[in-house]
Symmetry: C2
Subunit: 272 residues, 2 copies
């Protein structure tokens, strides 16, 4: 039985008997949502001091991309001094097949990536933006940590899904996130009709994302396919200066200009 | 078309033409997850400075409970001075019927609660713990804000659902949150079988919550009802010193002691 104190200053951990007392934890390290955007949001606006302090203390990483992990650590270092110079950090990238194809069911056996934790080092799991393993790679690493009996400790920070869901006014007690929609137009329209039918039948809000360069095409499809009274939430550029969060009936959206921030990462939702 | 800057220091807002330029925004203000617990987590560990600064600047509130809102503002004031003394704040509680029965579909017409925003004041929406309108009351208020053309601005802070989902190692690309399960044992067992069937058929992780005093009974039911190889995540006391986050197959859980933090708020998930 493992227990995970909320912060490094909290009470001692109690790892299971089979694991050495010095076993490290797997920390889930949130990253800001400005990755790939031409703007940098001040970290202190978005990251709790506790999260920055843990991030600065870690020197073993599993990540999507080592270069962007180093770039983020430089931003952290400007606020909280890193415990070690960046060039001394051990940064391991998830195998390309895992973070390209996705490891959402944890199909990949990532236990080998966690050897440093078995050797007593805390490890940080970090993705390009937001919370790792939530609409993002890393599930296989978290699963491997549980298999190995390591403490898994999620840190508070920005994550686009909960921000969008809360700000939408769609059902916050029953909702589903379905990931990406099909890229092909007809299949996408068919999938949207399915999601709308589920929402109408069950009241469950349906959430999905798209690669930003396809957002405009998805938006056209949404207005074409959905019923006039279906509510449609469009949450773009969350936490960025140009953040745009709106939710209206489709018939209302049709009378308006398209959202102006669709070139930014966007979370879409529909419901009653 | 409204645009919502991420922070008060960001570029100017562009409210729709029909709304006076001085219209206030609806800020979604996260609260720490220690409500009702006998421990107080240091706010600076969990709340970004930007979130605390916005919270301290607000003086109009819509909330579940005025007393706990005041208690939280006192904690904020210890870190960032409030712009006005607490006794001068305008604090409006959601009608009891709304926050008891739930307003997850936004059935309640909450536009009357947002008059202060139409008069030019920013309003904070806050619940007892975590993010308002996400597995919590407030959906009707957010919906009313969109109807009125107000900017809705979610603030980064702790929220138990995304922390649990990321830390579970269950599918992070397809998941559903279904709220509370039936309290009656047979109905609960039936509902759990339904959720497990959906997870098996679609690979979608299924998430739910329970009132803490019923967590132990739910746990027994989970171990009785679910298949041996179904993965079961139990995430208790998130962000608290005794936080416990584990995910194992049901057959593994059966060989272990029950989780020790089930008396704390807990998020449960199941999947493949």
């Amino acid at each position: 039985m493992t227990r995970a104190p909320a912060t490094p200053s909290s009470s001692a951990t109690h790892p299971p008997a089979a694991v050495p007392l010095s076993t490290g934890s797997l920390w889930l390290v949130p990253a800001p949502l400005d990755f790939g955007c031409d703007v940098e949001v001040p970290l202190q606006h978005l990251m709790p001091q506790g999260t920055l302090e843990v991030t600065a203390r870690l020197s073993h990483w599993v990540c999507e991309n080592a270069k962007s992990t180093r770039a983020y650590l430089k931003r952290v270092n400007a606020l909280v001094s890193l415990s070690r110079p960046i060039q001394e950090h051990m940064i391991t990238e998830l195998p390309r097949a895992v973070h390209k194809k996705g490891d959402h069911q944890g199909e990949y056996d990532a236990r080998g990536l966690l050897q440093a934790a078995l050797d007593g080092h805390d490890i940080g799991l970090i993705s390009e933006a937001g919370m790792p393993a939530l609409a993002d790679p890393g599930v296989s690493v978290v699963r491997a940590a549980h298999q190995l009996g390591l403490c898994v400790r999620p840190l508070v920070g920005p994550s686009s899904l909960p921000l969008a869901m809360a700000a939408s006014g769609l059902n916050g007690q029953q909702f589903s996130f379905v990931g990406y929609l099909p890229a092909q137009a007809q299949e996408r329209a068919q999938r949207l009709r399915e999601l709308e039918t589920v929402a109408q039948r069950t009241g469950t809000a349906q959430w999905f994302i798209e690669t930003p360069y396809r957002n405009a095409a998805l938006w056209d499809s949404l207005l074409q396919v959905l019923a006039p009274t279906t509510r449609l939430a469009c949450c773009s550029g969350l936490t960025l200066p140009e953040q745009q969060v709106e939710c209206h009936e489709v018939q209302t959206w049709k009378r308006r200009a398209a959202p102006t921030a669709l070139h930014r990462p966007t979370v879409f939702g529909l419901g009653l």
